[in-house]
Symmetry: C2
Subunit: 228 residues, 2 copies
DNA sequence: GCAAAAATAATAGTATTACTATCAATATTC
DNA sequence: GAATATTGATAGTAATACTATTATTTTTGC
């Protein structure tokens, strides 16, 4: 990432926070350390009290940024998908061949996540671990009404439709571009999860990556030659 | 289901319960009504106290069957996958053509769930809804040690490897049979979830089913003619 | 049909969670 | 330097996720 990018900010639905955590150093610390703490003890055991103790702040101060821990997880997930979208768009921008473009998009979306220094208070590698392990905790929620859901998951929706459009650009006759796109995104998280926790349920390992599997899958499905 | 089947029982890892719920009428009622209550209020808000009130029994009595609500969900998930496995084996048994066999297996695993009268105290339709909405709550758990995990998820593992073998039988050269099998199972749940909650992220709807999508996907991937 | 054993119910109690409310102490800014 | 905003400390509440104890009911073995 070059210097131009140092003021980049991933836009997040304002309903997800009470006070924008990007607007103060306490807010950034809340986001930064919540990622690490959720990774360490799991979302279920994560509490604002524990986070407060960890950052030498107070439970009540954290509540002034986020309504509850669930909204905080939604915030982190939103950030993650916004970041993925930005990288996908950035890395495929300028590629005119639709096949090459789709191939690159799949690569960005399925490859192992690495640190991005453009966002110093967020550890993308650990955030990725959280998303793999806890993402479904964020959307499996009876509480959310439909209006809110649409707001919270708009990033995800945009990412799926972008990918779906790239699929259509490669094969106009394919009947299930949205389903294929959402399967790739969810399936990638799942393959990484299995690789870590139930390796006998996947062919992914140190040498075979989810990128190999999904690139092959997409190219076979859309009747293209594999050039992954 | 014919009369022969009336004594069928889906085998479940004994570590998942303290006292076998199939062994008493209270136990069966716990299982039966927990499915309905989890569906109604969501797993997060489900408590043994509420369940006790609903079945006119006592919180403490339920604790004698299940250690906690999480183990109960694992029990239900185990039952579900055991039941899916049994139906898949049953319905594909005797089909000798590998392509036809795989096709039938995909159909059983991806189609809309219907009531199975062989198991009177379990509402399979509602159980399926729970699995779609709450399944990942069961395996996203830092608590489980590896030994236990292997015990709890053995059914799932068996189902994935059976499906994977059917894939290999159709195409010995395909490099990712396990990943494809696990993607189908998880992906099916996800497509049903999207169809219900985020219809703009999937092509599945009233007429296009996950069975269509996945049958097409598998047959294209394994270079076969679609005959779904 | 009755005693012993097992299962269930009722009640109480504890530590933790997920907050809300209030007020005091610090920073910030104008 | 006063006014304002932010953060911290403390207390309090209702609900959750249990455990323990004892009472009551049901089952079973003879």
């Amino acid at each position: 990432m070059d210097v131009l990018m140092q003021t980049l900010k991933i836009g997040i639905n304002e309903k997800l926070y009470i006070k924008d955590p990007e607007s103060s150093s306490l807010g950034k610390k809340i986001v930064e350390e919540s990622i690490l703490l959720i990774d360490e003890i799991g979302f279920e055991h994560f509490t604002f009290k524990k986070l407060g103790a960890r950052i030498n702040s107070n439970e009540s101060s954290i509540y002034r940024y986020f309504e509850n821990k669930h909204k905080l997880l939604l915030y982190l997930a939103s950030w993650y998908w916004g970041w993925m979208e930005y990288r996908m768009v950035f890395d495929t921008n300028g590629i005119s061949d639709p096949v090459e473009k789709l191939s690159k998009a799949i690569e960005v979306l399925t490859q192992n996540v690495e640190e991005d220094n453009a966002f110093s208070h967020i550890n993308e590698v650990v955030l990725n671990k959280i998303i793999i392990n806890e993402y479904s905790n964020s959307y499996l929620v009876k509480e959310l009404n439909d209006e809110d859901k649409n707001g919270y998951f708009i990033v995800c929706k945009r990412l799926v439709s972008r990918l779906s459009e790239m699929i259509v650009a490669v094969d106009k006759t394919y009947a299930y571009p949205l389903s294929l796109a959402s399967t790739i995104l969810e399936g990638t998280l799942h393959q990484y999860f299995l690789k870590e926790h139930f390796p006998m349920l996947t062919n992914c390992n140190e040498t075979v990556t989810p990128t190999h599997f999904f690139t092959d899958l997409i190219f076979r499905t859309l009747n293209l030659n594999v050039n992954g």
